[in-house]
């Protein structure tokens, strides 16, 4: 196969696709073996950092359009499992491992505050397994392997959410709801893979793409496509399939919410992109119809309905959770348009929204730590008492709205550009209008933080520096990626090119 090179001697550099996920996978059980929460944290941080460095290295390698192919156990694809890294998944790997590395220092204090002592070690173990699963979903080039990693990440996610029961017992029921819905979604995905296997006899994604060409009239292939889209749609929280998300994000402990909001739905969106554009050809008539008549209307519905619901929330965490559903709408809109620019917009929004939401949820975590509550009513006048945290919220909020100079602007700009390129001016208008709804809910919180008077006699200080630094690293990233778009735009463009053109080779 073109683009994949097998070197006779494999050095450590060639093992990177595997090592990126193997390091956290091994570190997870090690946490439990050592059984000490300090060692567990160090292990989690080191494993995450190593994965991040490896991902960054791979991203630099594939930015010129190269593809890294790693054959598991030396078995050549399509028979063996292949890990295949191109610009699209290297970029998502970079996001996931980067976010994880930044939030772990923040996690230390927050976990101590929100989760009972005996579970700390297990928390970091589950966190690492979830991290491994998400990286694995993204790195693999084998359709069934996606399912296996998806379940690794999902099962540990259910546990992580349920650990929020310390603060609110509803965490348990929302974890249970997510377990039911998530399992149905993953099972749908397996059924879809099974249909593709019946039709083609292969599970390797690149091989699937080759064999699926010319099979668009095949009913089995069409059914497989539908099952995969619905199954992954559940994980990505596409609008009517989002029901698990708000409660899960609200009742999970702060760190878990930060991590999930910034990475979990993004990995699912990546899988959707991969299946829709490089496994199935976007020229398939049934796929074009689904994209135009189902995906796009749902995306627009998500942008408005979820933003509107967000505007009426009193709990900051739930507000941001609904906002996440709305932002997934923008990413899905880019998928629905199915042009090169719109796919770039989806990929870049995936990244920009990841860092933006991480900042916002970190701020909420800081409020929970200092105030013991994330309800707007309890946050009156915190702008004076926690100036750094609140300033981070303002910048994150601006990025969420898409104000020029922040990361969120770049992705919305590209999305509008994609709509105008297709002469869909009404769509561009809708994107701007839905952004105005984001202004409403962000302003609502800013008003509470800065315009209201704090309660009498409340002495609330700033959170500790170990939480502020991660928060501000991502806040500065929000501004940096809004001003310097070289890395993000190049990656997104190369990734979109690879998804649209390179999948079959």
């Amino acid at each position: 196969m073109a683009g994949s090179t097998i070197l006779p001697t494999l050095g450590i550099i060639d093992q990177l696709p595997l090592l990126t996920i193997a390091v956290p996978l091994v570190a997870g059980p090690l946490c439990v073996l050592f059984g000490n929460k300090h060692i567990a944290w160090v292990l989690a941080f080191v494993a995450s950092l190593i994965s991040f460095l490896f991902s960054a290295h791979m991203l630099l390698q594939v930015l010129d359009g190269d593809v890294l192919s790693y054959h598991l156990g030396g078995w050549a694809p399509p028979l063996g499992i292949e890990y295949r890294v191109d610009a699209a998944n290297a970029f998502v790997l970079f996001l996931i491992s980067g976010i994880s590395t930044v939030i772990l220092p923040y996690a230390r204090k927050s976990v101590e505050h929100e989760i009972k002592k005996v579970s700390h070690t297990l928390f970091y173990c589950c966190y690492l397994l979830c991290f491994t699963g998400l990286l694995g979903v993204v790195v693999t080039g084998d359709a069934f392997n996606v399912f296996v990693f998806l379940e690794i990440s999902s099962l540990s996610t259910y546990v992580l959410i349920a650990m929020g029961a310390e603060r609110d017992r509803r965490a348990l029921t929302s974890a249970y709801d997510y377990l039911i819905l998530g399992t149905i979604g993953a099972t749908f995905f397996v059924i879809g893979i099974g249909f593709l296997y019946i039709a083609t006899g292969t599970l390797n994604m690149a091989d699937l793409a080759v064999r699926l060409a010319g099979m668009e009239g095949n009913r089995t292939v069409q059914a497989g496509f539908a099952f995969i889209v619905v199954g992954m749609g559940l994980k990505a929280a596409i609008y009517p399939l989002h029901l698990w998300l708000p409660s899960a994000y609200t009742y999970a402990s702060s760190v878990v919410t930060v991590f999930l909001a910034a990475t979990a739905t993004k990995a699912a969106i990546y899988v959707l992109l991969r299946f829709m554009f490089s496994v199935f050809q976007p020229e398939f008539v049934f796929e074009t119809h689904i994209l135009t008549f189902i995906i796009m209307p749902l995306a627009i519905l998500a942008m408005f309905a979820a933003s509107l619901i967000a505007a009426f929330q009193t709990d900051l965490k739930r507000l941001l959770a609904y906002s996440s559903v709305a932002q997934v709408g923008y990413m899905i809109l880019g998928i629905g348009l199915a042009t090169k620019i719109s796919l770039s917009a989806t990929i870049i929004h995936l990244f920009n929204h990841g860092i933006t939401k991480a900042v916002l949820f970190m701020v909420v975590g800081a409020f929970v730590m200092q105030k013991g509550s994330s309800f707007a009513k309890n946050l009156n006048g915190l702008g004076k008492q926690m100036p750094w945290t609140c300033a981070a919220f303002v910048i994150g909020g601006l990025s969420l709205i898409g104000v020029p100079g922040t990361a969120g602007f770049i992705s919305k700009w590209l999305l509008i550009d994609a709509a105008l390129e297709e002469d869909l001016w009404w769509l561009a208008l809708l994107i701007v209008m839905s952004s105005l709804l984001a202004v409403v809910y962000v302003w609502k919180i800013v008003e509470v933080l800065y315009m209201k008077q704090p309660e009498e006699g409340s002495v609330i200080g700033e959170v500790s520096i170990s939480m502020l630094i991660p928060m501000w690293i991502l806040t500065i990233a929000c501004i940096y990626f809004g001003l310097n778009t070289e890395l993000t735009l190049t990656s997104a463009n190369v990734a979109a090119d690879g998804l649209l053109g390179g999948g079959a080779q």
Partner: protein, 141 residues
């Protein structure tokens, strides 16, 4: 629709019927344990689907003789779907045990595992929150 079409796709019919039964139990039953049972039936239907597609007509177990003298006339069944589904079975067990563990915790915290009773408790909590923090939209949904 000929009888050949129906009988020839027997494994698929069974798969669909079993899948729908499982799905119905998950949706219609309010008891959390019964929901997990339904989820299991749902997953097992997929296992059955995978296992049946690996069967080749007249095929024997896909094991080569020890001396590796392979007779080209012998037809073997396809082992790959079986191997895949072994993984999925393990995942299913993990999901079931995690679900049951969650139910134990839910029972400890709420004192019940009936969905309608839990929803009632949760809406009371929600009402309490609303009166303290101001009204908000949407509850559990």
């Amino acid at each position: 629709m000929t009888s050949e079409f129906i009988l020839g796709h027997l494994n698929y019919w069974l798969f669909i019927v079993l899948m729908m039964i499982g799905f119905y139990i998950v949706v219609a039953r309010g008891n959390y344990i019964k929901k997990i049972v339904g989820l299991n039936v749902f997953q097992v239907s997929v296992f059955m689907f995978y296992i049946s597609i690996g069967k080749v007509e007249g095929g024997t177990a896909p094991i080569f003789p020890l001396d590796m003298n392979i007779d080209p006339d012998v037809v073997y069944s396809n082992p790959l779907p079986h191997v895949l589904i072994l993984t999925a079975i393990v995942v299913g067990i993990a999901t079931t045990s995690l679900g049951l563990a969650l139910i134990v915790r839910i029972r400890e915290e709420f004192g019940t595992i009936e969905e309608d009773e839990i929803l009632e408790i949760e809406s009371k909590l929600q009402a309490k929150e609303n009166s303290a923090e101001g009204p908000s939209m949407g509850g559990r949904a």
